[in-house]
């Protein structure tokens, strides 16, 4: 990857973060931490990896995205707006009456391939989508994003066992290992030991990459296997990109004053400006 290409991805990730915060700011509260931690992944996926057409979001041969940690909706919505699936202004309808942008992703919105929100359930659906694409002879991939707390759900591991057992090499499982869930750290709530080893043991071709390393992400997400699903463990930080959010203990769902959102936005916009 050239320096220019890398910079372009980093800038796009910043734009996603800005769109995410603007989206949440419009309602005044929302899931900030878990949205920010996947911004770089979404940037790489939508800019360099995934095959899609915003004008034809239902195209059968498109690559699919299942954000099983549905509460990261604002980050996905922000990405979809920047990629032309939805008008940017629609971001400001988050959680408003009759909106298509609820806290958790809903497939009535163009570009959302799976309705999520009940943690764990996106995993089996993503596996079903990947299997369905294979059975129908489509050459496309499904990218599944789960939280790490979400992996507490047994359903995730049933889905993992199936995906590997049925050799679904068109599935890429991105586990956002930001080390935190809702009530606190994984260590405090339910330690997970070695996540990458778990995926390996389940039969995945597994890599670990820093959550904000766009170059590493590009390599990991480009990976192909003959007969295994891919697992990408994101060594990430909850709230990545906004210092105050990263440092806040309670950054899962945040309810702050408009001025505070503005400070966060300034920090992100300054970084973007610095990049030229």
């Amino acid at each position: 990857m050239t320096l220019e290409e890398k910079k372009e991805l980093q800038k796009f990730a910043l734009q996603i973060r800005i769109a995410t915060i603007e989206c949440i700011k419009s309602r005044g509260f929302g899931h900030v931490g878990g949205s920010l931690s996947i911004a770089d992944t979404l940037a790489v996926l939508y800019k360099r990896i995934m095959n899609y057409d915003p004008k034809d979001p239902g195209l059968e041969t498109r690559d699919k995205l299942v954000c099983s940690k549905g509460h990261a909706g604002p980050a996905v919505y922000g990405t979809l707006a920047l990629c032309g699936f939805i008008p940017y202004e629609q971001l400001y309808t988050l959680n408003q009456p009759a909106t298509k942008l609820p806290s958790h992703c809903d497939r009535t919105l163009p570009g959302i391939d799976c309705t999520t929100g009940s943690l764990g359930q996106g995993t089996s659906q993503a596996v079903g989508i990947a299997l369905g694409d294979k059975l129908q002879g489509r050459d496309c991939r499904t990218f599944l994003i789960t939280g790490d707390g979400e992996l507490n759900e047994g359903q995730c591991w049933e889905a993992a066992m199936f995906a590997a057992g049925k050799k679904l090499n068109n599935l890429v499982w991105i586990a956002d290992w930001n080390k935190r869930q809702l009530d606190g750290s994984l260590e405090e709530i339910l330690p997970q030991f070695d996540l990458a080893e778990k995926f390996k043991a389940f039969g995945f071709d597994t890599v670990t990459v820093a959550g904000d390393d766009v170059e590493g992400l590009y390599e990991a997400l480009s990976r192909r296997s003959e007969d295994k699903p891919i697992a990408v463990v994101l060594d990430s930080v909850k709230g990545r990109g906004v210092k105050a959010v990263e440092e806040s203990a309670g950054n899962h769902s945040m309810n702050v004053a408009p001025e505070v959102f503005d400070e966060w936005l300034k920090e992100l916009r300054d970084k973007l400006a610095e990049m030229g």
Binding site: R27, F29, G70, N95, Q96, P97, A98, T99, P102, S103, H104, D106, T115, T116, G117, S118, L119, G120, G149, E150, N152, E153, G154, Q181, L182, D183, G184, E188, I189, L190, G250, H252
Partner: protein
């Protein structure tokens, strides 16, 4: 039983009351344990986690939690287990049904954010069917919580009641109806307001709507009774039938799908009676996101709707 209803919001939020009551129950009974599924922040019990090994965080794994609760009961303990309403009902239904219900391991499940109170968490988090599910577990005891005293009374006695217990309760606001310290009895309904022209059987947040409706109707000379069943199962059918006979008109009001919940239960209680029956409940629909006030009108769970149903009878 004394009614202290003013229609004002209670200054105590449910999530500040839950940990106080559970602490008290634990002090009185060393068999009591509290399980949560990464939502201690929402049940208000986070501060107790780590201080006592009887507060157990199971992580985001509700079916596992329900099974563990059943196992703890089998070992002689008295477990309470909490998550949001859909996750302690739909998500773990078979574990609750078999490992706890069928196998006779008594547990108490606590589901927060019932129906439209799930508001900004949206349709995936908005249970309109939790009562229906629990109702078809043989012997289950179900409470749609009306106010803080009811929450206290239910939680305090649940540990020693047989079988599967389920309470659906908000996390935040409520309107006090009963005097502090009121003792509620399973299967015994409460006449919150007497009347002779019709009776509204209402539970949970709909008790407030029913009382507002009764007030509006009174201004027009229509005298309406309001009954709060406390437990939807077992339901105080006798009390409902007595008021049905007395008034000739019965309306149920619930923050739940009209199928399988209070409406179904009341309708069943009235079988064979020559009375008129109406309901205010969620039609056969899924939930959606939005402010609770918006959802209240979106699903027609309003005092005005109750008034119209009664007038139309």
């Amino acid at each position: 039983m004394k009614i202290v209803y003013t229609g004002e919001k209670d200054s105590r939020q449910y999530k500040s009351v839950i940990p106080q009551v559970i602490d008290k129950v634990m002090q009185a009974d060393d068999k009591v344990v509290w399980l949560d599924a990464d939502l201690m922040g929402c049940s208000g019990t986070k501060g107790s986690y780590g201080k006592s090994d009887r507060y157990i965080n199971c992580g985001i794994a509700e079916s596992n939690m329900a099974g563990i609760a059943a196992g703890l009961a089998a070992s002689g303990l008295k477990p309470y287990a909490h998550s949001f309403g859909p996750f302690v009902s739909r998500r773990c239904f078979d574990q609750v049904f078999l490992s706890a219900g069928y196998a006779n391991n008594p547990i108490t499940m606590v589901g927060t954010d019932p129906g439209i109170t799930a508001a900004f968490n949206g349709g995936t988090h908005m249970p309109f069917e939790d009562v229906a599910l629990y109702r078809c577990i043989p012997g289950a005891i179900i409470c749609d919580c009306t106010d803080v005293p009811m929450l206290e009374s239910f939680l305090t006695q649940a540990k020693d009641l047989p079988g599967v217990k389920y309470i659906r309760v908000g996390r935040k606001d409520s309107r006090q109806v009963y005097e502090d310290g009121t003792q509620f009895t399973v299967g015994k309904g409460n006449v919150v307001r007497d009347g002779k022209d019709a009776v509204i059987v209402a539970s949970g947040i709909m008790v407030h709507e029913a009382l507002q409706a009764a007030k509006k109707l009174a201004e027009e000379g229509i005298d309406v009774a309001v009954i709060d069943p406390f437990t939807i199962k077992p339901l105080d059918e006798e009390l409902i039938r007595t008021y049905a006979e007395k008034t000739g008109k019965v309306v149920s009001a619930e923050n739940h799908n009209r199928i399988g919940g209070l409406t179904s239960a009341v309708e069943h209680a009235l079988i064979g009676m020559p009375v008129k029956f109406g309901y205010v409940a969620v039609e056969d629909e899924f939930g959606e996101v939005g402010p609770q006030d918006y959802l209240r009108t979106r699903y027609d769970l309003t005092d005005e709707h109750i008034v119209n149903v009664i007038k139309g009878m």
